[in-house]
């Protein structure tokens, strides 16, 4: 039989137990692990490579949307929450379905049927949609999440020095370390506060608090000297953006 590896992610034991119970009617779904927080979930997804997630939204440390943001593999996700307002965001990330607590066995079976269908048609959650929905509406992000293997780093935005584009990745420099994240520089820029972070160059976003001074080094070309001595190139449009803010 074609089995589907699944992960149950909820911080409440009772909430996990009812999913387990409802799954007992579906031998094709094999629960490979149960996780009680977002960190465990990211680790389990990386190591166990499940195809289906039962994902609670409200959890300690990382919420359900943030867990998705950190996972790169193609997944089928069923959101489970007591909050109706998350249903809208669940749709935004093209989740297969969402279940509002408490839910009936019939409703659960229906969600599973939809999940199986999506799996055969290989309709997974698109990465870009997740990244845009992971952040609660218009508020600028207060932290950036980065995963290294199965480890998760939470970087508060005020601790970011600057961000550099590197092919498909961005390198986030913070406290002397560099964290790689698979994201476009412009997408990351859209998440950050425009009053703190400026795109000074095609390849750089600068935290303006780190800027020590600007030096002119050729016509229309400037260097931003950071407080720690780092030099970053500033383009003409980058200079205009900086001037506007300072």
């Amino acid at each position: 039989m074609d089995t589907i590896k699944a992960l149950i992610i909820d911080d409440e034991e009772l909430a996990r137990s009812i999913i387990r119970e409802f799954l007992s009617d579906h031998p094709d779904i094999q629960v490979v692990a149960e996780c009680s927080n977002g960190y465990e979930a990211v680790k389990a997804v990386t190591e166990l490579e499940p195809e289906l997630l039962f994902l609670d939204v409200q959890m300690p440390k990382l919420n359900g949307f943030e867990v998705l943001e950190l996972i790169e593999s193609d997944l089928i996700v069923i959101f489970i929450t007591a909050y109706e307002q998350y249903a809208v965001r669940a749709f935004e990330v093209h989740a297969v379905d969402y279940l509002l607590k408490p839910f009936s066995r019939e409703r659960f079976d229906q969600a599973l049927a939809r999940a199986r269908e999506k799996r055969t048609r290989k309709e997974f959650v698109p990465r870009l949609d997740i990244l845009s929905a992971a952040k609660p509406s218009n508020e600028p992000a207060e932290r950036v999440l980065v995963r290294d293997g199965s480890r998760v780093f939470v970087i508060p935005t005020e601790k970011i020095d600057y961000i550099e584009a590197q092919d498909d990745y961005v390198a986030i420099r913070s406290e002397g370390k560099s964290h790689l994240k698979k994201q476009r520089l412009s997408d990351l820029q859209a998440m950050l506060s425009p009053r703190k972070f400026v795109r000074i160059h095609r390849s750089y976003i600068l935290n303006v608090d780190r800027l020590a001074r600007l030096e002119l080094y050729a016509k229309d070309s400037r260097m931003a000297i950071l407080k720690d001595g780092t030099k970053l190139q500033v383009s003409r449009s980058g200079y205009e953006a900086l001037k506007e803010l300072l």
């Binding site: 009812i18 409200q58 440390k61 408490p102």
Partner: protein, 371 residues
């Protein structure tokens, strides 16, 4: 702002009043034939209106030496001095005006004739000052009563609003949905736990509906409602949620507004325990300190959690409600440091005088006739 100057209508009435006085004073001067009507009007009208304007300053005296707070002898003394100063000021203006009329317009011997009427004019001015002061005291009283009416209305609206919000927060739909999900999860394997949970939920809902509509309840009842809520959450969170309570016996009879602790306890769970992987302990303490009841609620909180999402609204409601009920006599202090969230509530310790009143637990909630 001066109440007469601030309102154009009032100012017009005031000036018209003084114009009438001006005509009356002119008549007093013209009727004994010492002055012609033209002379009397030219002299009295502008000077009376100017005197009226000077008298406006008595508002500041009236406001500073209010009738309520100042002994009447002192009010009389102060107002006498003020009237003398006012009349002196008027005297200076009058001298100038008489000079202009004599030299500029050419009215003969005006000064001598006015000085002859001096005592009469001063007497009239003293009376007019008294009238102006009386008007100002009346306006002050009127404004004060309007202000207190407005404040009372506002505090009533605040109280109602806060109560409504507290009630709505009380029956937080997410709390209910999550509890119902726990019941649903327990249904197959643990019917006894299902029964226990439904009873706790029913108990909590009934208490909040019954006590929420009262003006004040005993601290004992308030705490028992908070514990009831926490026990329900305990079923959901399991060992992640621990409860410790230390309520001094003397405090139990203190009267508190119903559901005043509920937003604090709910915050402790929703913004504290729920965001900690290993959970923690919520502690509730109540002590009697002199004439003050002190309730302290403490819970661990995730220090890494971004600020600005920590239940500001619930706390704001508690503060508003306290202000509406106790004015400056109650206080809620929040302290969020080193991973611990502390709420300290100080209330005037008011006790239930009727100690023999039966505890509500023994009062049947459904009367036999209704069954």
């Amino acid at each position: 702002m001066h109440p007469i100057l601030a309102n154009l209508e009032r100012f017009a009435v005031y000036i018209i009043g003084w114009l009438i006085f001006g005509v009356m004073i002119a008549a007093v001067l013209a009727l004994p034939k010492d002055f012609s009507w033209t002379e009397a009007l030219a002299l009295a009208m502008p000077l009376t209106v100017i005197y009226g304007l000077i008298c406006l300053s008595s508002w500041y005296v009236c406001r500073f030496y209010t009738l309520q707070k100042t002994p009447i002898v002192q009010v009389l003394a102060v107002q006498t001095i003020a009237s003398i100063i006012t009349i002196l000021a008027w005297g200076v203006v009058a001298t100038g005006w008489i000079f202009i009329l004599e030299r500029g317009v050419g009215i003969m011997e005006l000064q001598t004739r006015v000085v002859a009427k001096g005592p009469l004019l001063i007497g009239i001015n003293v009376i007019l000052y008294g009238l102006a002061a009386a008007v100002h005291y009346l306006i002050a009283a009127f404004e004060a009563s309007k202000e207190s009416e407005r404040r009372e209305l506002q505090s009533r609206i605040f109280a109602q609003d806060a109560e409504l919000k507290a009630l709505r927060a009380q029956i937080n739909p997410h709390f209910l949905f999550n509890s119902l999900n726990s019941i649903s999860a327990l249904a197959t394997h643990n019917p006894a736990a299902v029964r226990a949970m439904t009873l706790k939920l029913a108990d909590f809902l009934r208490k909040s509906l019954r006590l929420g509509s009262q003006e004040s309840i005993r601290l004992e009842e308030e705490i028992s409602m908070s514990l009831n809520f926490l026990e329900i959450e305990q079923i959901r969170y399991g060992s992640r949620l621990q409860i410790v309570q230390q309520i001094d016996d003397v405090c139990k009879g203190c009267l508190v507004p119903p559901l005043i602790l509920q937003p604090l306890v709910e915050n402790a769970v929703v913004h504290g325990i729920a965001h900690l992987i290993d959970g923690g302990t919520i502690s509730i303490e109540a002590q009697w300190r002199g004439s003050v009841l002190h309730v302290h609620i403490e819970n661990p909180i995730d220090p890494d959690r971004p600020r600005g999402r920590k239940g500001g609204l619930g706390l704001e409601n508690v503060k508003k409600r306290l202000r509406a009920i106790y004015k400056e006599d109650a206080q809620l202090q929040i302290d969020d440091r080193d991973g611990v969230f502390r709420s300290d509530l100080w209330l005037p310790a008011q006790t239930d005088l009727n100690l023999n009143r039966p505890s509500p637990e023994t009062v049947p909630t459904t009367l036999p006739s209704q069954m």
